[in-house]
């Protein structure tokens, strides 16, 4: 009850009660002791009077004696003596047994209690015995008005003899009473000092305790205030409180002022506030909605969907009268405050940027700009080549799509599919690169990145169909790019062919150094696709920061178109390979005492009986066997001992069969190691023999021998002879 009644104020109540008790104690003691002291004073006075009375009795007795001797009237002396005697006797009686005496100071009767202190009792008993002698001596004088000599003489002599004795006793008594009084006074002082000290200590305890508490509370309040100020000033959202009367109360965040460009927030009606920025209909709905939060029957978790202030358009007027449109998100949450009052915490977010970003996201493929960029890429390409490129690319993408579609849902088949898709893509990328189609090549490059990413994931966990979604999305993008090219081509019409072919055929000077203009013209005429490789080499070499020149031989006469495209694929891959891995930089070449310009040669020859030789060589650093070894170890295909034991032939076999790249960085033209695998696939398709000759820092040579007759289609069913990889030196 006590604790529940006073609760957290219990300490205060107890302290105050103690304070009062101490004070009252002192007061009571004070009353009691001062009463005692007053009584004691009377006693002192009475004792002092007894002293006086002793002398006065002696004086009176002497007076009576002398008067009587001279026969004068001694009546007054007698009365005086009798009076003193009685007063002395009564007082002594009262000291002994308690009783009433007349106060010497006021003349009023006062009651005193018997002296109980042993010291006092001892004095009194001596006084009593002496007094009884006084009584014996004086008693005869008390009877009548006539005093005989017999009566006065012994009395007089007795008093004269004992007067001083009695005086000394009464003096002693007076001193005793004084001492007692002093003791009591001291006791009172001590009690007062103790009581007041305790009360004072108590007072200070109360004071310090509550001052401390007050200070803590003040600090807490200050801290809270500071915190909420800090929060409200740094918070990135507009925040304010809304009370039951739809008034925006108390604090709000700085951001709120920034959003609405106003400082007038606190104390405003929500309706008025909203009306400045929103149409009336929205305001009404919003107000009805906000009121729902104060309704008891509502489950506030279930009304968020009908919030009318989600992504609302607010028209905000700036200082100069200019208006700005912002998209805002309001969210509401009910808060119960300390005093059980409920308020709604309203949070306002400016989502304009997000909405703009989304809008931009949709516009990211700005078609016009893309088309302009494409135009510059398409213009130099002969129309027939472009048509073939588009057809090839589309059927390639179709094949990839088909691979995706027909894949069985099993991890083994996923891997096989990825490999086939990677090969298709590499071909497509090669084609695009040769034609200088940055955009398309980039698309295929991204596609390959995605394939690699998925392959990486496949190593850690079982794939499911969803993992291929990024691939399908990139495929769609690549289809779209192709459509874009087609669209641009259709718009251009015949313009490309008629006006710009000669630009393409333009012959840079460095080509003239190698071939006659005539042979170049023939090449361009007979095998335009191959002719493009010349420029492509220049471009790629420039990208890699090396100097290189491509020599083409045996291509001045028309080549069977099927054979041409089979060999072309090989040439492109090997060209990538040479430029990426084979040829050194100019500085490196000069150090090795090689001409700064790297040479790449491609020649196609045949014996007119259908036996062909395709030769590709470069004068670069040669086959980098060590790199392949370390790559095999890095990829945990072999341990280092096994890798060391491998001969060069076996290493080359790895390089061709498994996707190993000796390039550390992947870019559009090299680094994935798919290229050589693709060459291998083509070699298989041609049923050809592949020989590789390489001397470190001198050259690398790829020789592909095969038979070909135009009627015969290459068969992929036949396995290539196992000796098709030969290695010399």
């Amino acid at each position: 009850m006590f604790s529940t009644l006073f609760g957290k104020y219990r300490f205060l109540v107890i302290s105050i009660a103690l304070f009062l008790i101490f004070d009252l104690g002192v007061l009571v003691l004070n009353f009691y002791t001062s009463g005692k002291i007053a009584e004691q004073t009377e006693l002192i006075n009475s004792a002092a009077r007894q002293r006086t009375l002793t002398q006065q009795m002696s004086k009176a007795t002497l007076y009576i004696k002398s008067q009587k001797l001279q026969l004068w009237v001694y009546q007054s002396g007698l009365d005086e003596l009798r009076d003193h005697y009685r007063t002395f006797g009564a007082a002594l009686q009262a000291f002994n047994q308690g009783g009433t005496i007349v106060s010497p100071s006021t003349g009023l009767p006062i009651s005193i209690s018997a002296v109980s202190d042993p010291e006092g009792v001892a004095i009194l008993s001596r006084a009593n015995s002496l007094w009884s002698e006084f009584e014996t001596a004086i008693e005869p004088l008390m009877i009548d008005t006539l005093v005989s000599d017999d009566e006065i003489r012994p009395a007089s002599s007795f008093i004269a003899a004992n007067n001083l004795k009695m005086f000394a006793l009464m003096d002693e008594l007076t001193e005793f009473f004084k001492a007692t009084s002093e003791r009591q006074t001291n006791l009172l002082r001590a009690a007062q000092v103790i009581g007041i000290t305790l009360a004072t200590i108590n007072f200070f305890i109360i004071l310090f305790h509550f001052l401390g508490q007050l200070r803590v509370r003040d600090q807490e309040i200050q801290l809270k205030q500071h915190e909420s100020d800090q929060i409200l000033s740094t918070i990135n959202e507009g925040v304010f409180l809304l009370d039951r009367n739809m008034v925006m109360s108390g604090q709000h965040s700085k951001q709120l002022e920034k959003i609405f460009l106003t400082r007038k927030v606190s104390g405003r009606k929500f309706e008025r506030f909203l009306a400045r920025y929103f149409p009336q209909k929205t305001v009404n709905t919003a107000l009805d909605f906000a009121k729902l939060y104060f309704r008891d029957h509502i489950d506030t978790a279930l009304i968020e969907d009908v919030n009318p202030l989600k992504r609302v358009e607010a028209v905000i007027t700036k200082k100069g009268g200019e208006t700005e449109t912002k998209y805002l998100d309001f969210s509401f949450a009910i808060l119960s405050q300390d005093d059980a009052r409920q308020v709604v915490l309203v949070t306002v977010r400016d989502v304009s940027a997000k909405i703009l970003l989304e809008a931009q996201d949709q516009l990211n493929a700005d078609e016009l700009e893309q088309q302009m960029a494409l135009l510059t890429q398409i213009l130099p390409i002969p129309r027939t080549d472009l048509a073939a490129f588009i057809d090839d690319s589309r059927s390639g993408l179709d094949r990839i799509n088909l691979l995706l579609k027909d894949t069985k849902q099993a991890s083994g088949s996923y891997e096989a599919m990825l490999i086939r898709i990677a090969r298709e893509t590499h071909k497509l990328k090669g084609n695009a690169s040769v034609l200088n189609f940055e955009m398309i090549a980039q698309g295929h490059h991204l596609f390959e990145n995605t394939i690699e990413e998925i392959s990486r994931q496949a190593k850690h966990r079982t794939l499911n169909g969803r993992d291929f979604l990024p691939l399908t999305m990139q495929l769609k993008q690549n289809f779209a790019s192709l459509n874009l090219i087609e669209g641009v081509r259709d718009k251009l019409g015949d313009y490309v062919d008629t006006s710009l072919n000669h630009v393409t055929r333009g012959t840079p000077d460095n080509r003239l150094e190698l071939s006659t203009k005539k042979s170049l013209d023939e090449l361009a005429e007979q095998n335009p696709k191959w002719f493009e490789l010349l420029a492509y080499t220049q471009k790629l070499a420039a990208q890699k920061g090396i100097a290189a020149r491509l020599n083409l031989r045996g291509l001045n006469t028309p080549l069977n178109s099927q054979l041409s495209s089979e060999l072309y694929l090989i040439a492109v891959q090997l060209l990538h390979n040479s430029l990426a891995h084979g040829l050194e930089s100019e500085e490196q070449r000069l150090e090795l005492k090689k001409p700064s310009l790297g040479e790449i040669s491609v020649s196609i020859s045949h014996d007119k009986r259908g036996n062909y030789r395709f030769l590709f060589e470069d004068d670069g650093r040669g086959f980098d066997y060590e790199r392949i070894r370390s790559e095999l170890v890095d990829r945990k295909l072999l341990d280092s001992r096994e890798a060391k034991a491998l001969g060069n032939t076996a290493l080359v076999r790895y390089a061709f069969k498994d996707a190993i790249s000796t390039q550390q960085n992947v870019d559009q033209t090299a680094g994935r190691g798919v290229g050589l695998a693709l060459v291998w696939q083509q070699v298989k398709a041609l049923n050809a023999k592949l020989k590789i000759r390489s001397v470190s820092n001198e050259f690398t040579q790829f020789i592909i021998d095969f038979s070909y007759s135009p009627s015969e289609t290459s068969s992929e069913i036949l396995d290539p002879p196992s000796e098709s990889v030969l290695l010399a030196s």
Binding site: N401, L404, K405, Q409, N464, G465, R466, L469, P470, K476
Partner: protein, 172 residues
């Protein structure tokens, strides 16, 4: 709105539907071990997703019953969920329905689409209007629906019955 997010929302919806199916009706699955649970967080136990591929415009698509939802807003999209009778009957059986009338199959494919739409509404936000699903009971040609030139076909399989989720997204 990125295309990826858009597709993900619907695939998530699909997974959540079949997950829920297992949860409420797969009595044998009432006790799920923690490893199984971890697996389920990425893919439903019985639901297998095939590799997505592209569908060219003017392709005839759809199985026996197709539920269609259209989404409008800053992106316009059409989403079809198409299933053969066999799959729908399996689901109804797992619900404990004894009757397998076509009317109920229609209802069901509508409900699957409904779940996808519900999920999309929650994920994409109020800025998108998502239609009440329509049920089509015939093969349909994509050209009739003003779809994107290439739409995505995401095959899936539930307890060995195949079905398709077809998603077309276009900026409005």
């Amino acid at each position: 709105m990125s295309e990826r997010r858009y597709i993900d929302v619907f695939v998530d919806g699909l997974i959540s539907y079949f997950d829920h199916l297992n949860e409420s009706f797969g009595s044998s699955r009432s006790v799920i071990s923690s490893s199984e649970h971890a697996q389920r967080s990425t893919q439903s136990v019985d639901l297998e997703l095939g590799t997505p591929y592209l569908l060219k415009n003017e392709a005839t698509i759809g199985m026996d019953f197709t539920g269609m939802i259209t989404v409008s807003g800053s992106s316009v999209g059409t989403v079809f969920v198409s299933a053969p009778r066999a799959l729908l009957k399996r689901i109804l059986l797992s619900y404990g329905e004894a009757e397998l009338r076509d009317e109920l199959l229609r209802d069901l494919v509508g409900e699957i689409a409904n779940t996808l739409a519900g999920n999309a509404r929650r994920e994409l936000g109020a800025d998108f209007h998502i239609s009440i699903p329509r049920v089509i009971q015939a093969p349909l040609n994509t050209k009739d629906y003003r779809l994107d030139q290439h739409c995505y076909l995401l095959p899936f399989r539930w307890r060995s019955s195949k079905a398709e989720l077809i998603i077309s997204v276009k900026d409005s």
